[in-house]
């Protein structure tokens, strides 16, 4: 069965801390791994990773994929209260010309002032 597992399930930090969120997966015909940030409603796209070892970076957020060990990490440096959200990891598989996303349960991050 295809699955995506995120850890930790929740995390409480103080502003300025650095956090690392983990995502491991077991899927057939892996195509890509995506990270989303979910605040109140819609998941907001952060990164899409398809190749091992290439870091994607956007401001204080960065992510990397290891296709050999089947995991990805999302790093957030110098956290701010606005980073408080649920971070979702999702994986896509080769399945015709389209992608369906298989989501993990998410990591709930709370950043306290």
């Amino acid at each position: 069965e295809d699955k995506v597992v995120q850890s930790p399930l929740s995390l409480v930090v103080h502003e300025g801390d650095t956090v690392t969120l983990n995502c491991s997966y077991e899927v057939t015909n892996f195509r890509s791994l995506l990270w989303y940030k979910q605040e109140k409603k819609a998941p907001t796209f952060l990164f899409m990773l398809t190749s091992s070892g290439i870091e994607k970076k956007s401001g204080r957020l960065s992510s990397i994929l290891d296709k050999k060990e089947l995991f990805s990490i999302l790093n957030i440096t110098a956290t701010q209260t606005g980073d408080s959200a649920v971070y979702l990891c999702a994986v896509t598989m080769f399945s015709g010309g389209y992608n369906k996303l298989i989501f993990g349960a998410g990591t709930r991050l709370a950043v306290h002032p």
């Binding site: 989303y36 796209f45 010309g97 389209y98 992608n99 993990g104």
Partner: protein
């Protein structure tokens, strides 16, 4: 910045009633998706749609569900006879190509009483 929109934001209906959830995907996107998230649970894939037909559907997407693209902009999800367990947040998503990242709408919270 283009975004996916959904209406209504919240729909309350009685068990057995039909509901139609509406989505306007990003205008140049070709692939469309519906996902749902039951409160406290993972985001789950329902259906993908391309070239005016269903590409793939999950086991959740039974005969009570249907999708349609009635014109060049709207993408709808119909539930014919709602059940209590259909209560969830329903997200529409779209992507330009099947292999590209998916962008999510703000969701419709469906409450079946």
């Amino acid at each position: 910045e283009p975004e996916v929109t959904q209406t209504p934001s919240h729909q309350v209906t009685q068990m057995g009633q039909e509901v139609i959830l509406r989505c306007v995907p990003i205008s140049n996107h070709l692939y469309f998706y519906w996902y749902r998230q039951i409160l406290g649970q993972k985001v789950e894939f329902l259906v993908s749609f391309y070239n005016n037909e269903i590409s793939e559907k999950s086991e959740i997407f039974d005969d009570q569900f249907s999708v349609e693209r009635p014109d060049g902009s709207n993408f709808t999800l119909k539930i014919r006879s709602t059940k209590l367990e259909d209560s969830a947040m329903y997200f529409c998503a779209s992507s330009w190509q099947g292999s590209y990242e998916q962008y999510f709408g703000p969701g419709t919270r469906l409450t079946v009483t």
